[in-house]
Amino acid sequence: MEITPAPVSRRRFLQASGAAGALGAAGLGGGLFTTLRPSAAQTSASRDTAPETRITKNICHQCPARCGIDVYTTDGRVHAIYGTSDHPIANGKLCPKGPLGTYILYDPDRFKGPMKRTNPKKGRDQNPRFVPISWDEALDTVAERLNTLRDQGESHRFALCYGRGWGASDAGLLGNFGALYGSPNVPIGHSSMCSDGSIQAKKALDGVGGYNAYDYANANMLLMFGVGFLEAFRPYNHNMQVWGYIRGERVPKTRVTAVDIHLNTTLAGADRALLIKPGTDGALALAIAHVILTEGLWDRAFVGDFRDGENRFQAGRRVNPASFDEKWVSGLVDWWNIELKDCTPDWAAEITTLFARDILATAREFGTTRPSIALFERGAHAHSNGLLNGMAIHALNALVGSLYAEGGLMSQMGPSYGPLPADAEDYKDDYANNGPWKNRPRIDLKGDKDGYLLARNMLQELGPNSLAGKPYKLDTIMFYTTNPIWTAPNGQVWEEALKELFVIDTSPFPSESALFADLVLPEHTYLERLQDSPTYPFQGWPLTQLRVPAIEPLYDTKYFGDTLIEIGKRIKGPMGDYYRALDNSENVLRHLAQGFADDPGDNGVNSFESWKEKGVWYKKPYIYRQVDGEFRQWDGRDYNLVMSENEVKENLFKTPSGKFELRSSWLEEHADWIAEKTGRDRDKLMFAHWEVPQHPGGGDLYMVTPKVAMHAEGRGANIPVAIATLQPVLGGRSTAYIEINPKTARARGIANGAKVRLRSDLGSIEGYCKYFEGCRPDTIVFPMEHGHWAMGRWAKGRLPEHCGDITVNQSDRVTGQCSYYTTKVTIEPA
């Protein structure tokens, strides 16, 4: 699409003297001399035709929401980003981070091309002394290392970790790479440092093991636990669009109760704000469940009922399981008998420090104002009791029957991709099928009974494990969209670990981990990429979208998908053939898009070309729906096809019983291991129950570091506009203030605005604090954004120092969730 604006006005004045030129070069200067330098028209004023503007499609990179964006390029300069109008997530809108993408493209601190390290010493104060090399040399170096390891039967010592993988043409290629090459450590995703706590908690109950998609627009009540709905919860942009609708237009207005540990916009915008003690959301959820049952507010069509219709749930009284006929849940009465019967509002009030009357009111509202959704992520589950908190909260959705219902929550469908150009199975040699690597545990001990048997990933353990040599030491490690030195808790251990390894980094930016790299293979920034990305869980129906380059790459960088394919081509044996068959990432994408020919999107996208033009393929509606306890499937016109129990078990409740298991058979199956590792009661561990969280660190205040609206993944620390708007509540515009309750501060002799020191068992950091009455007296809060010692000129050295340096690496023993928000610290004047 071309847009040709009217010609810009042109005025030419006398040019300035030479002094002005010199000052201009310094970038500063003014005052008296400015008069000598009147405003001349700046851009393309010498041309006779109006500048032409191209719009290309892309996907914003700054959070997982994946808003489709229109990228405006004029005269080779990318100068504006707006949300794509006909993209279902963006709808023409953007969150505050979206427009900053042009800055990321033109970030002056970007790597300009592949480089190798010449300073053998690695450390925070070491200059890597990178020298530029050619791509051939870089890729050959990597391949040589990998081939050598394979030849020595040590291919397991190559690990590839990734953070924000996007789709089939990048992270999606990694599984095959690992299987063909022969390493259990390729790939290792970051999900344990993300929100696996909710994924596994939900899996324990409904067997799905994924984030939920939500139908907020049709819900009548939202109960949010530790969710920055108006700050960071994904898809953030769309959440705010929905907010405008449900709170500003919809009749009736959707009721919102928000639970968190400090006052933020989400709580301020809600109808009811509950300032809860950190780590105790599970107790609140259990009490709500208790009230729903005792007051008879559960959805009988979905849950089931007492045979004679008389509600026997009374506080403290056991119930005979035989008296209750369950429909789509299992283990409800067992759960009541073993835990819920004593979880009264008063009981929860003491644990959570909330008022019992508020707990009661919340429960009643959640139970009566249906459809209602209980949602949560890290705030509630990034603690030692996180699995149990998560289960308690998610169970609430079952009690009110919102699973797969209109106005409820569901699981996300994937896109109709065509097959890849080649099938990896056909290219596995003996080594891939039977090599010694198959007997090796993963380096992060995911899936290992000595490690985290039930976790999906344990990225935060990789560094410490390799350093300790347990289960073994790695040799070579490669990073894609991840910066573990900084994002892992207690990253100092990673620094030591990486000193021993050959590190390959693919980031475009000089991250902390990149500065420890031996080889830098920088990839394009997103506005330069051709890349796919299926949607993050959104509204259930499938959606996948495309990044189309707005301009030619600015520097000598290479898209990660292509880097991987090029490395693959250089591996000896049939693996090389496989990657030659894939050829390049564009070829991969073309093959994927072939699937659209048989399943065109609602907007007509049925080919690679049309996908590039529109930027997105999607197909509504979500094909499953639960209505009054009956599961239906879409038949093309309505939800007419009633699903059998088997069909529900296969597609929706993927548990052994095919039901929503309030008594989790998955956990029960591993009861021995769980009991041994957590010390939990064997009779209780398969139910959501209250467990006092263990807080490491040795301090007396909870240290919580939430994401804020300006937190652009991987880059916010070096975007000056993001820095300047990072913390509007307290006015943090060149630093982020540490929020502290005034009473707490005064008791420790800390003045408002003073420099403070936070201490845990791991060490101390410094920063400036500000009094905030919206902060709990037992908690201090600040966003995790600053404290970098690399990343670029604006990021470097900005206070407060990095919270990760004093965050203890503690993970939920079952889900593997890295518990960032659970360390306790002390605070004193610095």
Binding site: L28, G29, G31, L32, T34, T35, P728, G731
Partner: protein
């Protein structure tokens, strides 16, 4: 005057030639002023060339007019004050002021120059102002009128000065020129007050009486400056001062100065009193000022003390007392102007949590350098006049 060269004349007798000594001292003052101007001015220009306006501590949070504007207004209103004293004396036929008339008018011009140069260094486009303001006909803008009034004020002073520098003049003959200069000086002062007083949503500034307060403050400044700079002209040696000047300084002038201090004090205390009572937004600055020692320094040491000294018969005729009193008043006026201009901006404008409750403004190094520039420049011009123009002469 006898300008004998030391090398060519025989060794001087034991007694010094006072005229020659005075000339040497005046030359020394000129040289000091020029050297100071060179150093302060050079550093200022260097700072401005490398940092531009970032050399100042003004920000967009609400403190837009910082120390440089304070300096400019201070020098401008001192200039008009001097002009008003001189022209009032001429218009009322006050013969005893004859000894100071030339000096006063010359000093008015010197002060104005110092202030305007500082303003030029502060403005974004100072040279553009020379044509953009006069030809804008922005009749609604107090600053437009200020610029126009100052332009004509300068012309009227130059004419008056020209007449005064002639060897023969009478107060009577100067009357029409003095009247014009007086009217313009009053206008400039009053308009300068309107610049602030018209800002109705800044209760710290906004008041109808501000132009009047400025006029009296200006007169006070004029009187104090006359004292100090006359003594300076005679190198602080009263023995070198002519008798009629001493007479003026010991009889009429202390009374006038004391009266002016008193009136100014009335204005200050009245504003302070009303301001401290007020709850309206913007008036919390008064509480802030009242809790800082600067205000009390200004009131007690800068105004009350000189007032007492100038009223007590035992002290009022001592040259040392007169010098100290005028110096204290000059500083008190600078403090007052600073607190007024800065105070009206300390409450931030719709910046929410981005700004503190009260902006914490501290002048930058370049700001202070500008004060030195203004002082040295005015002094250099003034010293030049003393040396070459015979400002102390009052021949009829």
């Amino acid at each position: 005057m006898n300008n004998a060269h030391p090398q060519t004349s025989p060794p001087a007798p034991a007694t010094h030639d006072p005229a020659q000594d005075l000339a040497n001292k005046r030359l020394a003052i000129l040289i000091i002023a020029l050297v100071g101007l060179l150093l302060a001015g050079g550093q200022t220009l260097a700072n401005l060339a490398t940092q531009g306006h970032a050399a100042f501590n003004t920000t967009n949070l609400g403190l837009f007019w910082g120390l440089p504007i304070v300096i400019y207004d201070y020098f401008l209103l001192t200039s008009t004050g001097l002009a008003m004293v001189a022209s009032l004396a001429i218009v009322t036929g006050a013969e005893e002021f004859r000894p100071v008339l030339r000096r006063t008018v010359w000093l008015a011009l010197a002060g104005l120059l110092g202030g305007v140069v500082v303003l030029m260094l502060e403005l974004g486009h100072p040279l553009r102002a020379l044509w953009a303001v006069p030809f804008s006909f922005a009749f609604s803008s107090p600053l437009y009128w200020k610029v126009m009034a100052v332009s004509f004020y300068v012309l009227s002073l130059l004419v008056l000065l020209y007449r005064l520098l002639r060897t023969h003049w009478t107060l009577q003959s100067l009357r029409p020129y003095a009247l014009v200069a007086l009217a313009l000086a009053l206008s400039v002062t009053a308009i300068a007050g309107v610049v602030y007083g018209s800002q109705s949503f800044r209760p710290f500034w906004a008041s109808g009486d501000i132009p009047v307060a400025f006029i009296f403050e200006s007169l006070l400044g004029g009187l104090a400056f006359i004292y100090f700079f006359s003594y300076l002209a005679y190198a602080f040696n009263p023995k070198w001062m002519p008798a009629d000047l001493r007479h003026l300084f010991d009889t009429r002038l202390p009374t006038l100065l004391a009266l002016a201090i008193f009136i100014h004090l009335l204005f200050v205390v009245a504003r302070l009193g009303s301001g401290l009572y007020g709850n309206a937004e913007g008036l919390q600055v008064w509480q802030y000022l009242a809790s800082s020692p600067l205000l009390y320094l200004e009131l007690f040491v800068g105004l009350l003390l000189p007032l007492i000294l100038l009223m007590l018969p035992q002290t009022r005729t001592y040259p040392a007392v007169q010098i100290v009193a005028s110096l204290l008043v000059m500083n008190a006026l600078l403090i007052a102007r600073y607190e007024y201009i800065i105070g009206g901006q300390l409450v931030p404008l719709f910046k929410g949590a981005w700004a503190p409750d009260l902006i914490n403004y501290v002048p930058s190094m370049t700001g202070w350098l500008l004060l030195l520039v203004a002082i040295f420049l005015s002094n250099a011009v003034n010293a030049f006049g003393e040396l070459k123009l015979g400002l102390g002469s009052n021949e009829q």
